[in-house]
Symmetry: C2
Subunit: 345 residues, 2 copies
């Protein structure tokens, strides 16, 4: 089959690779119908060392079950499914608590001998716990929105959930990428009244307004913080959803959050140490939360509004490429020419 | 009057000082009946620069109202009161939310022209919002326990509250100082089932067992973490209450907390930066919370069980000194010869 590999920063190639096969009785093999490129794929695109490549890429997909291992029940060949970006058994103590990203039998696509989803097919470990059947056909107009359940919608929702957004809340969302925009949508769904979106790409922040943002702040750094404080009577918002992952975004979050409030991070941190002492988090009793989203836990909850068209998270896709064109898709996202790139076979 | 000042690290003196007077119509002047020395007083005792001294010391007290400003209602001369360690108006939006430590009109004893409580008397700003009348006389046997409402009990309770301890919970408490021991008591009150106390002073951890600790771990660092994990099936406890404030305690908290759990800090951090990235908090979806405790918010809630003797938080006091002996009290706490020192006039 054809599959995408990143050799080092900036070097993405689509090439021949062995067809995936059942390796464990808990596996399935899925033919990819739609996949996409993630904002988090841009982190290695900027930094991957040649010694760490080539790495199989892609962790979001819809597909058709082609083969199933002997221990998998509840799935059949031909089922149309969505996969969360992390696989998990969905039965352990962590999965039962909704923390599928900490499942001891779980893991990530593109690592540990599991392939990536920017490919013609992929082996899915823990298939019974991981894959969720979809009640539509592979020609449905809903595919882009359904695909967001694989990562970016569930991740934006995780940011809002971990921040315990409630009706009437005030929220700042940092980042106008797909996750930030879907954090806006999620905060709106949970009842937030004031949603300030920090971003400086007008086409994206316009979509953010459609998703529920009440204010847009294009300024960054100290100016951005001052603007958020100005909009909120001087104190900032109770919740800040941080969907970027770089230190300047963390610093803006600290500046924009109200005393007693919460910073919820879903952008993968590109730093290990950060300010958390008296002058940042401790003094004003700020809570820091977030992490890799257990999107499997949210699919059942978010699916109905996608199916009935109440929400259209798939609007984050603004470009479509074929599998062979994936390297062009990376370039377009890296240059901010595309918000999020959908990949067809 | 006589009052305590710290001149620099290790140099505490009791000396003559002007009697406090009403400066603002919202002030009261209180004659001190009991005060004490706080574990947090040991931080400047180790590090205060001579250029930052002399600093008035003490922020926990019971006392008799001697004078009240013209804008103070609800208090009379002769009232016996307890003060939270931070004063606040108790009417602003933050106070109404129970975050008195962020009150814009609030502040700290021993700073900004307000004296300390290791003294014969103290001026109390925002007296109406700050002081809480006690239904006992100044000869009550309950004074030590009532005095803990000023700081250490409310601070231990804040750690447990911010961690959202619930019935059946598993908790690790780091630190066998007064706050750590009262965090144990608080976790027990909130229904925690398993309470692992990390501390290495047997007399203190014995008191911790009396307060509700089910296990004691004397080891520190990686060994301490391994012990907590061994006691909890490998994963750590859902909540970790950190009542120390030094980086090794933070690192133990990160090691002892279960994926999806919460680290609640009430030890004043003696660091500004700390690990919060993928390898520490983010990957396992750990929440970091805590800060200076809004103890005013908890006094009404905690007072009944103190008055009826259900709890005896005053057991943390194991030495009593007179005001003139306060420097000896600092030395005893610094050398770990005393857990917490009560100060009589």
């Amino acid at each position: 089959m054809r599959a995408t590999f990143m050799y080092e920063a900036g070097d993405v190639r689509v090439q021949d690779a062995p067809d995936p096969v059942i390796e464990q009785p808990t596996d399935a093999v899925v033919r990819i119908v739609r996949s996409c490129i993630c904002g988090s794929d841009l982190h290695p695109y900027h930094s991957l060392a040649a010694s760490d490549g080539p790495a199989p890429m892609g962790h979001e997909f819809l597909g058709i079950v082609e083969e199933i291992g002997s221990d998998v029940s509840g799935l059949r060949r031909g089922d149309f499914v969505v996969s969360p970006f992390a696989f998990a058994d969905n039965t352990c103590e962590f999965c039962r608590e909704g923390l599928h990203t900490s499942c001891p039998k779980g893991g990530w696509y593109g690592a540990g001998g599991v392939g990536g989803a920017q490919a013609e097919a992929v082996r899915v470990p823990q298939a019974q716990g991981t894959l969720v059947k979809l009640p539509v056909g592979e020609d449905s107009a809903l595919l882009p929105s359904l695909l967001t359940l694989s990562d970016v919608y569930g991740t934006g929702y995780h940011a809002a959930r971990q921040a315990r957004i409630r009706p009437g809340d005030t929220v700042t969302v940092i980042g106008d990428g797909a996750v930030g925009l879907l954090a806006v949508l999620s905060a709106k769904q949970l009842g937030a009244e004031r949603i300030i979106l920090m971003g400086r790409h007008k086409d994206r922040t316009d979509l953010g307004r459609d998703f529920g943002a009440t204010d847009v702040v294009a300024e960054r750094g100290e100016e951005g913080i001052a603007k958020v404080r100005e909009l909120t009577g001087g104190h900032g918002t109770r919740a800040v959803l941080e969907a970027v992952g770089h230190m300047p975004a963390y610093e803006m979050a600290v500046g924009a959050v109200r005393p007693g409030g919460v910073i919820s991070r879903v952008g993968v941190p590109q730093y290990e140490e950060a300010p958390v002492g008296f002058g940042s988090l401790f003094g004003p009793n700020i809570t820091l939360t977030g992490g890799p989203a257990p999107v499997r836990a949210y699919i059942d909850e978010l699916l109905p509004a996608v199916l009935d068209g109440t929400v259209e998270p798939g609007r984050v896709f603004d470009r479509t490429v074929s599998l062979e064109e994936v390297p062009d898709g990376y370039r377009a996202m890296d240059r901010r020419e595309a918000l999020k790139v959908l990949v067809t076979p």
